[in-house]
């Protein structure tokens, strides 16, 4: 059992949870993720570790309501317990002092980007961060990102905060202005696809962190497989980070929808059950 120490909403449908998991707090590195299962009938879902505190023995995860499990998770509160948490999983981000690093995050992808921004900064890089969201209410981790970035650029679709436009617009402005040695892009698959196309134009080595479907997270099932440079890779053990210019994002987008109908049905049934309890 893993106790939730603190829960707060970062936006209407995005919650930050601080969970007691001392071993994971100690072992985790930027880029690692966990798999959790809320209760005995629950599914296993992967979530990136957004932060950790070794002294308190806690890890931080950020969840967005998109399905049954993430909805339940966002409704949990401090003092509640999660049945299973396992990790840290995946290969950690390769962190080195390369000069200038452009970190771009879209939507809730800003959460997994944060530990990388933090580690890149601590490694001595100049870090320029671009975070993007549909509108100002959906922008998360602005203060945290500002603390570890030499420059923070905020992009919103409607211009309600920062500049109006997509994440790629903000990235391109930076790239045209100064030499960027490496880029890290994390967000929805579509956003990563176009962010990768943007950096490819300028030959900037780019890493993307992939959020595929997983069951065990240890290489056992292969649900998370993606094509990278024409070769099938398991995101859980060889990733989650890959050369963004080699990832077949179209295939990944399609595979993310593998259970779309079943999950949409399950989610609407769950939401109905919540309503019937309330009424």
């Amino acid at each position: 059992m893993f106790k939730i120490i603190k829960k707060e909403f970062l936006s209407e449908n995005v919650a930050r949870l601080i969970i007691e998991a001392p071993y994971i707090a100690k072992s985790r590195k930027a880029g690692n993720f966990i798999i959790l299962r809320i209760d005995k009938n629950g599914e296993r879902i992967p979530l990136t570790i957004a932060d950790a505190n070794i002294e308190n023995g806690t890890i931080t995860v950020i969840a967005q309501r998109v399905g049954v499990t993430s909805h339940k998770l966002c409704d949990m509160n401090s003092g509640d317990t999660i049945l299973d948490v396992v990790g840290p999983l995946g290969t950690a981000t390769h962190i080195a002092n390369v000069g200038t690093v452009l970190c771009a995050g879209g939507g809730v992808g800003v959460a997994p980007l944060f530990p990388i921004v933090q580690a890149m900064k601590l490694a001595g890089n100049k870090v320029i961060t671009v975070i993007a969201a549909r509108n100002k209410d959906l922008v998360i981790l602005e203060d945290e990102m500002r603390e570890y970035s030499d420059e923070l650029i905020i992009m919103t679709d409607d211009g309600s905060l920062g500049e109006k436009g997509l994440v790629t617009l903000g990235m391109e402005k930076v790239i045209q202005r100064e030499k960027v040695n490496e880029a890290v892009v994390i967000g929805p698959a579509v956003m990563m696809k176009f962010a990768a196309l943007t950096t490819k134009k300028y030959d900037i080595p780019t890493v993307a962190s992939l959020n595929t479907i997983m069951v065990d997270g240890t290489g056992m099932c292969g649900a998370c497989r993606v094509s990278v440079g024409g070769k099938t890779e398991f995101v859980c053990v060889s990733g989650p980070e890959f050369d963004a210019h080699q990832v077949n994002f179209d295939e990944m987008l399609s595979r993310l929808n593998a259970y779309k109908d079943k999950e949409a049905n399950g989610y609407s049934d769950y939401l109905k059950s919540l309503e019937s309890v309330l009424n």
Binding site: Y23, S27, R44, D84, V86, G87, P88, T232, S254
Partner: protein, 497 residues
């Protein structure tokens, strides 16, 4: 299996008065007139719509009658066919005597998981193949597997389950990585030696492949839990959600006082064929399909995990995992559940019994057929597969005749779900975290005769050493490793005291 010492021991036990007396009660000639018992089975057209166990188990009368077929040979060749060296004639004769709890105790001398082995061991190529009936008399072997299951089930259902005798607790901490058959066996054996044993399991549930891999209709989960519970009662501690190499390293655990380690992390990396279209939706590994159904209860409305299955389901492969997958797909409502296998039925690695059960349940077999490409609809969901016919040529390195393509034999099959069951590779996590660990070119871990790896104090066994093998071979490794670990501790830690 079996040292000279063991052979002397078996001989001495055979001379026990009660065995002598029992042997004389029926003449061997009369014993050989008996016919091998048939396992009662659930109706194929009922069981292929439910999860009820296929084999129902023998009755007491059946078991006692079958046990009287055993000739209690002076040279018990059956034992040489058992990877864990079970004293087969001794337990069988206890059944003949009517002391079933006594028989169960004998099983537990060498085997912590008899109810499991009685169900999933390939006895027909192990103990039963070495039985004098098969070797000398051209008759069906003694039904050792059925009897093992009977004795273990009888004991469990009696509520008088015994716990093996344990040496005095020595407080020395031993770590076991993985709670599958190899890990459980080592844990049980080390507990018998008196060690303070902790098993670390990566998943949220215990049992490894016994839980996520083998389906309920072949191995009920309650039985796995019962056997694990016996090991718990022997003082073994279990920690779930703990991945050694990730959550903590071997070095971290050394700092916590663990003196020796057994790696039994299994062959948890499914192979794919790397043919075009294999990453379309609706195509999954057998591990994924079975894990979603067996471990996560996918398909049950009370559980959140989705699982993909369909009306026309093809399973690629001919091993036990392929049979488990195809029979699971049938139970989940497939109208056509088809095995596509590139050799003929004769070469199939699956157990004869599993193939027989599959045929009875209405599984279709497309043998001498191999997939070459998959096609999908506009949503990326598989809807067709292209296969080609094969013929058998000269024997290859495995001794089986090599499948060769029949040119121009390509044709398409309509499918809405495909499960790939073409083998597994070793799980890479421990090896990644310990570069000093010597591995083979297949990424299995190298071990010596005592199951010790290139790192002193670090032992390994089961599929992480063998690639994909069986439950009982993993358990055999576990028994050998426990002895190796005990010797290692005696030579190092205990020698210093």
């Amino acid at each position: 299996m079996g040292t000279e010492l063991d052979k002397e021991y078996y001989k001495k036990e055979r001379k026990a008065d009660w065995r002598d007396k029992l042997r004389k009660e029926i003449k061997s000639k009369d014993r050989t007139k008996g016919v091998r018992v048939h396992m009662p089975e659930a109706d194929p057209n009922v069981r292929n719509r439910s999860n009820i166990e296929v084999n129902k188990g023998l009755t007491l009368e059946m078991a006692m009658s079958e046990s009287s077929r055993c000739l209690d040979c002076a040279v018990p060749t059956c034992i040489s066919g058992c990877p864990v060296g079970t004293n087969i004639p001794k337990f069988v004769k206890y059944i003949e005597k009517g002391d079933i709890l006594g028989a169960a105790k004998v099983l537990k001398e060498n085997n912590s998981l008899p109810a499991i082995c009685g169900r999933v061991c390939p006895q027909e190529i192990q103990c039963e193949a070495q039985c004098v009936y098969v070797q000398k008399l051209s008759k069906e072997g003694s039904a050792i597997g059925y009897l093992e299951r009977f004795a273990a089930d009888y004991e469990r259902e009696s509520g008088n389950s015994s716990i093996p005798e344990l040496a005095e607790f020595n407080g020395i901490k031993m770590a076991v990585i993985g709670s599958g058959p190899a890990g459980l066996t080592v844990a049980g054996e080390l507990a018998k030696f008196g060690y303070d044993v902790t098993v670390f399991e990566a998943l949220h549930d215990l049992g490894g492949v016994l839980k996520y891999g083998i389906p309920e209709f072949r191995l009920p989960k309650d039985i796995v839990d019962f056997e694990i519970n016996t090991i718990k009662q022997m003082g073994v501690k279990f920690v779930t959600n703990f991945i050694v190499g990730k959550t903590a390293t071997i070095d971290d655990l050394k700092e916590e006082g663990y003196k020796a380690f057994f790696i039994a992390s299994g062959a948890g990396l499914p192979n794919f064929m790397n043919i075009p279209g294999e990453n379309f939706n609706g195509i999954q590994s057998a591990n994924e399909f079975l894990t979603r159904v067996n471990l996560m209860n996918g398909g049950d409305v009370d559980f959140d995990t989705p699982v993909h299955t369909g009306k026309n389901v093809v399973i690629v492969g001919g091993g036990n995992t392929a049979m488990d997958s195809v029979r699971t797909a049938k139970r989940m409502g497939a109208e056509r559940a088809i095995i596509v296998y590139r050799r003929s039925q004769e070469e199939m690695p699956a157990r004869t019994e599993e193939i027989k059960h599959a045929i009875e349940e209405g599984i279709e077999f497309m043998n001498l057929t191999s997939p070459i490409e998959y096609f999908a609809d506009e949503n990326g969901m598989v809807n067709k597969m292209r296969v080609q016919k094969m013929q058998l040529g000269e024997p290859d390195a495995s001794g089986r005749r090599r499948p060769e393509v029949i040119e121009g034999s390509e044709h398409d099959i309509d499918v809405d779900s495909v499960v790939i069951a073409v083998g597994v590779s070793p799980n890479p996590i421990i090896q990644q975290s310990m570069p000093e660990l010597e591995t083979t070119k297949w990424n299995t871990i190298e071990v010596d005769d005592n199951m010790m790896t290139s790192v002193p104090g670090l032992f390994a066994g089961g599929d992480i050493v063998r690639g994909g093998a069986t439950v009982i071979l993993a358990m055999g490794d576990g028994r050998n490793a426990a002895k190796g670990m005990h010797n290692y501790i005696e030579k190092t830690i205990l020698a210093e005291v």
